[in-house]
C-alpha cells in the first residue's frame, strides 16, 4: 500500500456521461507524484472533463478514481491540491480585488474564526510576485485582461502552496507575455518536484517542461507517453500557435500537428 502515497491520481475504467453524451468512455490513467502531464486533444475530446473527474468535480458513471489513494468524496487533504479552472467566474458581478481572489487560495489551510496569519500574507505576496501582478493587487479582477485573469487564477493556486496542481487550459486565450510567465512558474514548480496535470490544446513555451503527454480522442486515451512532437506546418521554426480558441477550424488545424510518433 506504500505505493499509493506515490500515486497522485489513479483512474480505472473512468466513464462520464454529460447530458446523455458519453464524454469519457473508459479511461485508465495513473499519474505518479512529480510528473508533469499534459492532457491534449481536440475540443470535445473530454480533456477538461477528465481533469475535473480526477478531482471528483464531475461524477463518474462507471469506473473509479483515486486521489492519493482515496476516492475524492473521502479525500481530506485538499490543501495538497491547487485547482486552476478554465476561467475566472464573475458571478453576480460583485467586485473583488486581485489580492482577495489570490488570498482565497489559502482557504484549505485556514481554520474558521482564525484571523489571517503572517504565513498567509507571505504566501499571497509570493504568489502575486510569481505571476507579476503585485502592482495590481488592489485592482478589481474584473478590470484585468484575460491573460492577467488567468495569472490571478494561477496565483490563487500558488497561494495555497499545494504539492499537486490541476490546471484546465491555463494557456487558452492568454497573451504571449502571460504564456512565458506561466512557463517560468511551472518550471519552478516542476523543479521543486510538484505534480502537475494540465489541459492544453497546444503546448507552446510549456513544451520542454512536460514529462508525459496524454492525447484524448473521443473520450479514450489515444496516446500516453512522451509528449507528441508537432509535425508539418506547426513544426516550422517560428510558427506561432496563436489560434483563436473559439474558431473550430483553427483549432482543428492546430491539432493536425499532434501526431503520435510511430
Amino acid at each position: 500500500m506504500l505505493l499509493l502515497t506515490d500515486t497522485a491520481f489513479a483512474m480505472t475504467g473512468g466513464q462520464v456521461i454529460l447530458d446523455g453524451r458519453h464524454v469519457l468512455r473508459g479511461i485508465g490513467l495513473t499519474v505518479r507524484a512529480g510528473e508533469v502531464v499534459a492532457v491534449l486533444g481536440a475540443n470535445g475530446s473530454g480533456k477538461s472533463t477528465l481533469v475535473r473527474a480526477l478531482l471528483g468535480l464531475t461524477p463518474l458513471a462507471a469506473g473509479s478514481t483515486l486521489l492519493y489513494g482515496v476516492p475524492p468524496a473521502r479525500f481530506r487533504q485538499w490543501w495538497r491540491i491547487g485547482y486552476v479552472p478554465q476561467r475566472l467566474q464573475v458571478g453576480g458581478g460583485v467586485p473583488a480585488t486581485v489580492r482577495e481572489v489570490v488570498a482565497s487560495g489559502r482557504i484549505a489551510r485556514q481554520r474558521r474564526l482564525r484571523p489571517t496569519s503572517s504565513a498567509d500574507r507571505a504566501a499571497v505576496a509570493a504568489a502575486l510576485e510569481a505571476v507579476g501582478l503585485a502592482d495590481r493587487a488592489g485592482d478589481r479582477v474584473q478590470d484585468l485582461s484575460g491573460g492577467q485573469q488567468q495569472r490571478v487564477l494561477i496565483a490563487r493556486a500558488l497561494a495555497g502552496e499545494p504539492d499537486t496542481y490541476v490546471m484546465d487550459e491555463p494557456t487558452a486565450g492568454v497573451d504571449a507575455e502571460s504564456q512565458r510567465m506561466l512557463a517560468r512558474t511551472l518550471a519552478t514548480l516542476a523543479g521543486q518536484g510538484k505534480t502537475i496535470v494540465l489541459v492544453a490544446h497546444e503546448l507552446g513555451p510549456l513544451e520542454p517542461l512536460i514529462t508525459r503527454g496524454i492525447v484524448l480522442r473521443d473520450g479514450l486515451v489515444a496516446h500516453d507517453g512522451p509528449p507528441p512532437q508537432p509535425e508539418g506546418e506547426c513544426a516550422r521554426p517560428g510558427h506561432e500557435h496563436v489560434h483563436p480558441h473559439e474558431e473550430p477550424q483553427a483549432v482543428a488545424r492546430a491539432l493536425e500537428g499532434w501526431q503520435v510518433k510511430p
Binding site: W79, V94, P95, A96, I107, R112
Partner: protein
Amino acid sequence: MIELLGLPFFQQALLAALLVGLCAPAVGTFIVQRRLALLGDGIGHVALTGVALGFLTGTAPVLTAVLVSIAGAVTIELVRARGKTTGDVALALLFYGGIAGGVLLMGIAPGGSNAKLNSYLFGSIATVAAEDLWVIAGLAVAVIGVVVAFGRELFVLCQDEEVARASGLPVRALSMIIAVTAALTVVIAMRVVGLLLVSALMVIPVATSQQFTRGFRATMLLAMAFGVIAAVGGLLGSTMSARVPPGAAIVLLALAGFALALPIGRFVRRGSRGRSGKEVTG
C-alpha cells in the same frame, strides 16, 4: 421629530431599522454574487404563510415566520442545487403557494384582518413591540455572526463553487447556511419594509455600493452603510407626514441612492481607469 426620538415606540422602530439596514446588505452581498438576487423575494412570499400560521395557532407570528421561512429557504436551495430546468417552475409554485396560503390562513385566523395582512406585506415599523425587537436583535446577531464566522468560505463558494469543492469546503452545508441566513434576514426585515420589499434591502445597497468599490469586503461594508442610511433615513423621512408609509419610503430612498450612484460611480471609475489605462490594455 425631536419629540418623537423620546418616545419608546419610535426608539424601538429606529433600532429595528438600524439592524435591518446592517444585516440585509451583508447577506445580500453573498446572494447577489451567487446570482440569487430573487431568493429574498421567494423566502418573503413563503414567510407570509408562516406569519398567518402564527395568527391561526396563537403563537408569535415572528417565530412561526422564522420556522416556515427556513423550511422554504431549505426547499429553494435543494431545488437550486439539483439544477434541473424544471426548478424554475418549482420555485414559482412555491412562491404562489406561500402568498395564497398566507392570505387564506390569515382570512380564517381568529385575529386576522386585512390591516394585519398589509402590515406584514408592506411593513409596519411603528408597531414593532419590545418583544419583537428582542427577536429581531437576536436574529441580527446570528446573521452577522454567520457572516463573520463563515465569510471567507462563503466568499470562495460564491466566487466559484467548483473551486470551493476542490478546496475541500463543505459546499452543501455552506449553501444551506446562506439560504437559512437569508431566511432569518427576511424575518428581521419583514416588520420594517414588509415581506414584498424585503429583498430590496438585500440587493439595492449592494448594487449601489459596487459602483464605488474594488473589493468584495469593501463592497459589503459600504453596502451596510448604505443600508443603514436608507433604513434610518427612510424612517425619519416618513415621520414628515402620517400618510407616508415607512417601508416604501426606505426602499425608494435606497433606489434614489442607486440612481445617484450610477453616474457618480461611472465618473469616478473613468477617472481611475484614465490613470492606469496603459496597464489595463496591456
